[in-house]
Assembly symmetry: C2
Homo-oligomer: 149 residues x 2
DNA sequence: CTTGACCCTGGACCGTGCTCCCGGATATAG
DNA sequence: CTATATCCGGGAGCACGGTCCAGGGTCAAG
């Protein structure tokens, strides 16, 4: 079976060589074997694992979380893996909701700004400047406390 | 009018004093005035601004982006300000779309995982793990010993 | 055997966003 | 006036996720 050097592995996964070594230092990815010379040799399992790491990253997992995920898989505890993914899902959904509130605030501001005239007539400036009457609030409701002001 | 010291400001915004000074160093938040002694004094506008910074951060904006957002309020060109706000709006919408893709990927995975059984039956590990016929050994790097030759 | 591409380790460095500590000055309550 | 809480500037340190040398050693083709 064909094995890959670190450069070929990195290239196939779309990462830099240093990143592969960094992941190894971080306990995420070990070479299948080493040559007598010390050269790392990787197989398809390692390539798959590296791609897993990258995909998990794009799904919002930190390297630490990915390491936990990979460790869980070794423990064959599917339930825990699923719970970790569910927790991340809930987290992502919260962030989406918060961003949607921000988007609505920005959209309202943009719609209310004439795009010309005096700065005092621009609700964007007034809202960001923190002065004057509060126009559409860029803050999500979740960030407001009863004890405010 | 009541002004706040740096400690009171920080406490009301839920940040550390050092963070306030860090934001000042970063060009994000200047005190309204200073006492002759050099003590910073803040008003409600600064508190609002600090809270805005924090909220924007929780929405995934970097301090650099927040600085750009806030710099809008210093401009006098209303048209330019509006365009910048529109660009931010488009950015927020892109973030939302990216997070939604993340969510969809996670949701699909979570839904398809039985939550029990063999790791080979867990799509979170298998589908993301690559297209290999078998689940690669996901053992952490530190646990693996070359051991051969 | 030589050449050039590749790989090795170890460590420095980067940007981001804080957080802490220091020695000294200042504010404020009793 | 004193005690003590707060503040000052400057600088160090930290965690993350890399990225980039330096000063070698190794591999494969010609």
């Amino acid at each position: 079976m064909e094995t890959l050097g670190i450069g070929a592995l990195a290239q196939r996964a779309g990462v830099r060589i240093d990143t592969v070594r960094y992941y190894e230092r971080s306990g995420l990815l070990a070479p299948k074997t080493r040559l007598q010379s010390g050269y790392r040799r990787y197989g398809s399992a390692e390539l798959a694992r590296l791609r897993f790491i990258r995909r998990a990253q794009t799904l919002g997992f930190s390297l630490k979380e990915i390491r936990e995920l990979l460790t869980l898989s070794k423990g064959r505890d599917v339930a825990r893996v699923k719970r970790a993914a569910q927790a991340k899902l809930a987290d992502v959904e919260q962030r989406i909701a918060a961003l949607q509130r921000m988007r609505d605030g920005l959209a309202t501001l943009v719609a209310a700004c004439p795009g010309h005239g005096e700065p005092t007539d621009c609700p964007i400036l007034r809202a960001l400047g923190g002065e004057g009457p509060e126009l559409p609030d860029l803050a999500p409701a979740a960030a407001r406390r009863p004890a405010d002001h």
